[in-house]
Each structure stands twice: as C-alpha cells, then as structure tokens.
Subunit: 354 residues, 2 copies
DNA sequence: CTTTTTTGCACAATCGATGGTGCAAATAAT
DNA sequence: ATTATTTGCACCATCGATTGTGCAAAAAAG
C-alpha cells in the first residue's frame, strides 16, 4: 500500500488509465468539468481513479500555469513573542478558512532581509501578502506593486498601501492613565519624574505611544521631561542595560514604568533576575502588549492587548477590495488590568480530550 | 522606475535582449554557466541585463522542472506559545543559513489537519519536512515516504522516521525533584498527596513525564497515588476547570504542582484570576516548559527549558544523512530556577538601535 | 594547409496543469 | 430525411526554467 511507486500520479497517468485526455482529467479534478460539459459518468470514473491512486495536483505546475499559487503570506518581524505568535495563529485560521495556504515568515526587523524574503515569496507567486511590523513597508510595497501582488500593512503603517494598526496613541493614553491612577491612593503621590517610558525605537508605533504617554502625563501630572523617555530599541538586552544604568544612577527604579512592548519587558525581567524582590516593592508597570504570564507578576502590571483578530479581520476585508484606499485604519486596543488571563486564538482549537 | 511593466522579466526576455538563447541565460543566472563553458563576457552581459531588469527566477517554474522547491517546512501544533514560537524562530534562522526558504505552518494538534496540511506542502514539492509535536507522526511519515520527502520528527516521536525529542523522563525527574527540594526546610514537610501533576494527554511526552514524576515522587516521598495525576489535555480551559474542581473539593490547591506545559500553565493563570493572592501563598510550581514571564510569578516557579536549538541542530544533522536510522534521539532539557530570564533566539538578532 | 581538439553556444524536450478552440457524434427541430 | 443544435471531449499552446545533445567556429596540433 505505501510503496506503490515513489512517483505521484499526474493527470497524464489518470489520462491513460481512464482513456480520457489530460485536459478532461484536469477539468474533472479541478471542478470546472460542468462548465466544460463533461459527462457525469466520465467525471465519476476519473474521480474514482484519482482517489484510488491518491492523486493530488502538483501545485507548482498549477501555479506556474495560473501565475497564482494559493499561498498567502504573513511577514513578521519575529515569531518569538505572544503578540506576533498569536497574530500568526489567527492569520493561519483565517487563511485556511478561505481555502488558501498560509505561509508565515519572519525577517528579524531587518530591512534587507524583509526585502529579500518578500522577493522570495513573490518568486513563488504568492497571491497576497500581509506585512506586519515591517521596518520599511514602502519598499516592500514597491516590490509587491511591481509584481502585482495585493498587500496590506499591519501593525506598522506605510504610505503607499492601506494599513491596519492599533490605535497606539489612544492605547498609550489609556495605559499611562491607568498607571497613574494606580497611585491615586498612594501615601506619597506620584511625581512626574517618577514615571518613565522604556523601549521602542523611532517607528510609527513608538512615536505615537510616546506622544500618548507624554500628553496624558502632562495632563495629569502637570509636567513631562525628555529624560523620562528611554527608547532602547526592540532588544531585551538594551532594555536591561537601560534599567541597570538607571538603577546605578538612582539607586532604585522609577515608581511608574511604561514599557513599550513585551520584548522590552523581557529586558526588565533580566534586570529583575539580578535584583531582590524589594527593588520592585511599590512599582507599577504598564506594558504595551499583552502576555498572560506577564499579567501575574508580583507587582501590578497593566497591559494593552492589541486586537489582532480585528486587525486581521479588517485587513482581510481590505485586501479583498478592488482598489482599497491608501489610508490608515486604527483598531482600538484593550486595557488589561493586572492578574487577567484572557482567552486567545488557541481557545478556538478544539481539544480532543475536552 | 517602479512602473516598468507589471510583468516580471523572464529568461526569454533576457534572451531577446542579450541575443543569447534562453538556455544560456538560464545557465548564467543559476550559476551553472562555467560548467557549460559560457564565455565570461557573455555571462557578464547577461548578469548586467538581469540586474537592470530586476530579474528574479520564477521559483515555481524551477521547482516544476526540478521537482524540488527550495522550501523547507516545519509543522507545528500551534504558534502561540513560547516553546513553539521559539522553535519556529530558531528553525527559520537555520533554514535561511542553508540558503533555503522556511515555511512554518500549524495544524492545531488535529490529525486530520496535520495530514491535509502536509499533503498541501507536498504538493508544493517542499524539500524537507520537520514534524514537530504531531499527534500522528507515522501517518505523516507515510505521506512523506510516498512522496520521497526527507522528514524527521521533533518533540513527539514516531516509529517510522528518526525522532529528536527532549528527554522527558529525565526532565520530569529533575523538575519533580526540584519541586520537592523546595519544601526541604518547610515547617511542615510535603506529603505525597500534596504533590500533583496537571495537564498533558496520552502522548509520548506526557507519558514519560508522568513516569518521571511518579518515579521520583515515590523515591523521595515514599508514595504516589493515581489521584495525583490529572491529565487535562492541552487546553487552558480544561486545565482551569480541573483546578477549580480541585479547589472546590479541597478548599485549597496542592502545595506542589507539576504542570505539564506552558499551555496548561495558562489554565492555572485563569484559575488565579478568580482567586486572591493568598490562595497561592505557599505553593510551588514546576512547569515543563519555559516562559520568561512565567519564571517571575509571585510564587516559586521552576521551569524546564527544552533545548530547541540542540533539537533542531540534531534534526538538521540527521535529515542530511542518506539513510538516518529510525531511532529516538534524546536531548537533555535544562532546569530553570525561579526568577530566571534566559536568552532566546531573539538575542541573536541584531538590533539596529543597539 | 589539413586534421584534431576545444570552445561557445543553440535546440528542443521536459516538468504538470490549464483553457481556448475545434470537431465529430448524438440529439432535436423542421 | 435533412438541417440545426447541443453534447462530449480531444488537441495543442502555454506558463518559465532546466539540461542532455549536437554542431559550427575557433584554436591547436600535425
């Protein structure tokens, strides 16, 4: 049964077996046979043969002919954090439900690698591309445009293709406000110079978040100084160093921390590993990203959950439009209070033991 | 510059432009031109033209001709947890360094979907397949075998293809021992009926872990009863329900908890969200998976980090062998003490702000 | 100045599926 | 019985790249 010839059956094999022409076999097997007025009995004959011989279409051949592949790509900066991995999870489900094949690849936030990766995907005649968190979305756009590939930006916007991103400004305001509010009934009120923002770089998301942070901070605490903004890039290590430097200088951490992403939060973890519990005794952390474990740390952690489901839903909607307007669609994120375990994309997977 | 014709240049275009035949163009552009004794000057001419016209090979056409695609697949149960997402991250880097294109797909731990997904990958003439955490690796093997595709099991073993998995038995022993040790200087010593295992199902990994757990428990605490094993499947929800049921019954949690995976740990988080801090006052948790945030929870969390780098390295080594022996290769996992922030695959990504 | 060898490349088949076109046989209309 | 339709399918070019083969021109050998 398993050794029945290393070679996969082709329409030509079935053509011989059935006595029909290859084009008839092809039509039967790709469902266009009614349109081609093929007799039902012929169709059945061929379908049975196909099943017997475990025929599956060679998708490269089909793709070559159609100059489409049935592949839908998602370009990610990295896999290894909850924001992007849950995005990948949702993406896959969505693409599958459209009868296509999802392909998820990461490009390490490296503009060169982004372009190279996308070029490769294009060479496979990928049908559509979702560009998430790209450092240089517009160059990626140019590639797609030249190849005639429908594409859309997610998470970080571009200026040449429609973009779906979370409302970073509003989210940052919500988060900052929630952090400050936590100190409402503190013995000593929070001073502006005790509330810092760590992480991020000079991208659209970081800029918006910083703006939201500063606006609310000024509004509620009356003042905000540049010194309180510490963009460390998206690197745990750099973030850790920033915390160490601060601690070295001040002998303690800021009472209020706005951390730009869960990746930066990992920098704080590394710092934590080097210091005793007490260092974090009355600290309040806000993190612009949701991680279920992060939500239960020993100090209050307020998080922002970006609504990847809605973002992707909107993105799929737009990408199906003929000529979607090049504009930025904002999706509202959600404030997550400390000690909250939200459901995620995994919850829609049935568990056979359930 | 960007609108220079929607169509991508082909070797035929370059053939016309250069005055050479398509086969010459092909040879030049795929590097076999020396072997074909093409003049250096012709090669240069064509290479320049290719660059000017932004030629990139149509990989579907190449794949069709070669019946290879340059794609290397990783089949995952799910994306959305740190174990698998860091595996994906490592996998991508490794595949890229081999000059191939990584494709990561998940199949939701659903045997049907696993087979369907693999069938699709095979239809794209994927070159190699890494099968991680498959529920039915042997059926997947049959598909690959029939298509002549090199493949290997990771995380969960099969009986028909070589497998690289972590040493779940030893890992579980280490973890259980570490949990018990934590109670060494407790006022009241830990009793066997206070140490429970939650999560997992009837797969190879769970069975080994349960065995390790029970062996050490019996060894160190003198006794272990079946009641202390609560396999809840790999579902946060089921796990939460199990904890709720236990709590309902006993009015408290077990003092010692062995949690079978980070996914099950999320079930504990959901339980935690419903109960005050005090419920977890003197609890010790061991989790068979590492999650950086999980390591810093308010109670001691001992974790096992499975060595995905070594697993993948070994897997790549094996998959390149001509006829690798069908055996199980065990990779030692690492015990991670509470409040530890390990480096991960992201650390090897250069940060442009660094 | 022949004959042999080497150089440089063109030709054409092939991978598997698709879809426009055309044509004979079956059926219907007159 | 003849013409007009419809049915059912085969033929063939095509998508873009690869590769075995063959052959003329150039270079080397004699």
């Amino acid at each position: 049964m398993k050794h029945q010839g290393k070679k996969k059956a082709t329409i030509y094999d079935l053509s011989v077996l059935s006595g029909c022409s290859a084009s008839t076999v092809s039509a039967v097997l790709n469902g266009t046979w009614r349109k081609r007025r093929i007799k039902e009995s012929t169709a059945e004959l061929i379908q049975n043969l196909a099943e017997q011989h475990q025929y599956t279409a060679n998708l490269q051949a089909r793709g070559l002919r159609n100059s489409r592949s049935g592949l839908v790509g998602l370009l990610l900066p990295v896999h290894d954090n909850r924001y992007f991995s849950s995005m990948a999870q949702t993406f896959e489900a969505e693409v599958r439900s459209h009868g296509k094949c999802p392909v998820v690849v990461s490009a390490s936030r490296d503009p060169q690698e982004e372009l190279a990766t996308v070029a490769t995907l294009i060479s496979y005649s990928i049908d559509e591309l979702f560009i998430a968190g790209a450092t240089d979305p517009d160059s990626v756009h140019d590639l797609c445009e030249a190849a005639g590939i429908r594409h859309i930006n997610i998470d970080l916007p571009g200026t040449k293709a429609p973009s779906v991103i979370s409302d970073n400004y509003q989210g940052a305001r919500m988060l900052t406000q929630a952090i400050i509010k936590r100190f409402d009934d503190a013995a000593v009120p929070l001073k502006p110079e005790e509330l810092f923002l760590f992480g991020g770089r000079n991208d659209h998301a970081s800029r918006e978040r910083i703006k939201g942070f500063r606006d609310i901070k000024t509004e509620l605490l009356g003042h905000d100084s540049d010194a309180c903004i510490q963009p460390t890039g998206y690197s745990p290590n750099m973030t850790q160093k920033a915390f160490e430097a601060f601690y070295e200088r001040e002998g303690k951490l800021p009472r209020g921390l706005f951390i730009n992403s869960s990746i930066n939060f990992e920098g704080l973890l590394r710092f934590m590993a080097q210091h005793p519990h007490e260092t974090f005794a009355d600290i309040v952390v806000g993190c612009y990203d949701y991680d279920p474990f992060g939500s239960f740390l020993p100090f209050p952690v307020i998080m922002i959950r970006q609504d990847t489901e809605s973002m992707l839903a909107k993105a799929f909607e737009l990408i199906e439009e003929a000529r979607p307007a090049v504009k930025i669609h904002l999706i509202q994120p959600e404030l997550v209070h400390p000690r909250t375990a939200l459901k995620g994309p995994l919850d829609s997977i049935r568990d056979i033991d359930a």
